[in-house]
């Protein structure tokens, strides 16, 4: 593990921890954006370019903004007075630690995972694109169709519903 990898890993974990523990929800959302960027940096260091870029493009560029907007539109800006932790936080930590131990034990002892680490596959953006265009072309086309339908639907929702009413509103503006 290179020092850069360790540093980005620590930054990612710190961002995630702050996203859980800060009082102000907007701060939490921004900390989560830091965690997302850290994950993207980790992907890039592991030579997974496509996933790394998609992580930034989708999570930092779109989802973080979406979350922040949702917070702004639904709540007032004041931070809550009471503590972030609920009363039963000790029990929560105990339960989650137990769950983590059990899952970790199960994964490490599973027969489905090969014991030897296989050689790293070469996954350039070109390979990902080739796979999407040949082997996975049908799922890709369906996703594309669904997303285009969603986009057209958004445009239709944004259209004015009552043209009669809008005409009378627009009349004086020009």
């Amino acid at each position: 593990m290179s020092p850069f990898f360790v540093i980005t890993g620590i930054v990612t974990l710190l961002g995630a921890a702050f996203a859980m523990s800060l009082r102000n929800l907007v701060h939490c959302a921004l900390a989560m954006a830091v965690a997302f960027s850290g994950i993207a940096a980790l992907y890039l260091q592991l030579d997974a370019q496509f996933v790394g870029f998609a992580e930034i493009l989708v999570y930092v560029g779109a989802i973080a903004i979406l979350i922040v907007f949702a917070i702004l539109l639904t709540r007032s800006g004041e931070a809550p007075e009471n503590s972030v932790l609920t009363s039963g936080w000790m029990a929560g930590i105990a339960v989650s630690a137990m769950l983590f131990t059990m899952l970790g034990w199960a994964v490490l002892n599973s027969s489905a995972i090969p014991k030897e680490i296989p050689p790293a596959p070469v996954a350039t953006v070109k390979n990902v694109g080739d796979a999407l265009m040949t082997k996975f072309v049908l799922p890709l086309e369906i996703i594309g169709l669904v997303l285009t339908a969603a986009m057209i639907g958004a445009v239709i929702i944004a259209l004015k519903e009552d043209s009669q009413k809008s005409k009378s509103e627009d009349g004086g503006q020009q």
Partner: protein
């Protein structure tokens, strides 16, 4: 001779790096490239601020800055020394932070703005063999880091605790999200035809000549439409007039950086202009042939000269538009993006597909141009509906 001049920076880099021990070479080479970007493009920014004020002055029938030249001499340089006192002024001004502001986020916002903008320069080919990191997916990288700018705009607007700042940030994010879609969709056509996301590869594809004229993508029907869409969307992405609603002085003071002063304001200013140069650079790379020359008998001019002159030419058009067009209304802005640019960009992708698969003769020119012209006419008519463009009616206060 001309080849050597063309490659002078590449040779200089190799020469400098050869003096460093083997182990440190990647780091030193990266540092030199960063120093290059950090010195050249802020320099272009400094010149552009003066140029912008002078051109706007000419458009508005006044002189613009024409006094400051070299200090302690009588040389005036037509006022092109103006950026030095401007820089000193912004460095020495008091940094005011509002009492109610969220101090940490307020401090971080200009920094977060500048980092992705500077990262975007990593993949742009400034000249022949002059790409800093030649990523396979350079175009994807550019758009990915561009998406992170929105976070900084939100941070600035929200942390200032000022209604104008928040309004400006909301407007800016709505605008950036809306215009990012036509921006990316218009770039997709180039990727389809070239078959690569690598920006150097895209430039190489345009570096051929027929009858002495270059194969720039802008000289094809889909490329022309793509370039115009890209140009308009990049105007909106860099918050320039007529899309400057996020920082409309007469409505919301300065938008999301209302509460910034001194050097933080200068950082925002710098970030905005560097973002503009980066996106223009991408537009040049995608549609205007990058560092290639438009005609074959001018190929001896160094590639970086071509890149920078194309950049400055488009910057001039940006300034010209700023001096000419009024600001759009919010509904006009959104209507234009979603009802005109988005459908046209989708049809343009379709046209690029037809162009790719039809035989290379006059028929594909006819078919592609006809589809684009029809789509343009129908969409334009759709956009004009319910907008009575009659005689202007003035209403006065009683």
């Amino acid at each position: 001779m001309f080849d050597k001049l063309d490659q002078i920076f590449v040779t200089a880099l190799h020469w400098l790096v050869s003096y460093v021990p083997e182990m440190l070479r990647p780091v030193v080479s990266a540092m030199i490239c960063i120093a290059f970007v950090m010195s050249v493009f802020p320099g272009v920014f400094a010149l552009t601020t003066v140029l912008e004020r002078k051109i706007l002055g000419r458009i508005q029938n006044r002189y613009g800055p024409n006094r400051v030249g070299i200090p302690f001499t009588k040389i005036r340089l037509c006022g092109f020394g103006q950026f030095i006192p401007d820089g000193i002024k912004s460095l020495t001004k008091e940094d005011i932070v509002p009492r109610a502001a969220d101090k940490v986020v307020h401090f971080l916002a200009p920094v977060v703005m500048l980092i992705p903008v500077l990262l975007a320069y990593a993949v742009l080919p400034f000249g022949k063999n002059m790409t800093i990191t030649d990523y396979d997916a350079g175009l994807l990288f550019f758009f990915a880091v561009g998406g992170a700018v929105e976070v900084s705009v939100f941070m600035a607007g929200w942390s200032s605790r000022n209604k104008y700042s928040l309004l400006g940030a909301m407007r800016a994010i709505a605008q950036m999200v809306s215009y990012e879609i036509p921006l990316i969709l218009s770039a997709v056509t180039v990727v389809m035809v070239v078959g690569s996301l690598n920006l150097s590869e895209i430039v190489k594809h345009q570096n051929n000549y027929t009858f002495g004229i270059a194969h720039w993508h802008v000289f094809t029907p889909w490329g022309l439409v793509g370039f115009v869409l890209f140009f308009i969307a990049s105007l909106a992405e860099s918050n320039r007039t007529p899309f400057d609603l996020p920082e409309a002085e007469s409505e919301i003071i300065a938008g999301y950086f209302t509460e910034y002063s001194g050097f933080k304001f200068a950082l925002f200013f710098l970030g905005e202009y560097l973002g503009m140069f980066a996106i223009i650079g991408l537009g040049i790379t995608l549609f205007l042939g990058g560092w290639t020359s438009p005609v074959s008998f001018l190929t001896w001019i160094p590639s970086y000269v071509w890149f920078l002159s194309k950049l400055m030419a488009i910057v001039f058009v940006f300034i010209w538009i700023r001096g000419t067009l009024p600001r759009l209304r919010m509904d006009q802005l959104m209507n234009f993006a979603w009802k005109f640019m988005l459908p046209l960009a989708l049809i343009n992708i379709f046209v690029a597909g037809i162009w790719h698969y039809m035989a290379a003769d006059w028929q594909r020119w006819l078919v592609c141009s006809a589809i684009i012209f029809g789509a343009y006419a129908i969409l334009g008519r759709g956009l004009m509906q319910n907008q009575n463009f009659g005689k202007r009616i003035y209403r006065y206060a009683e």
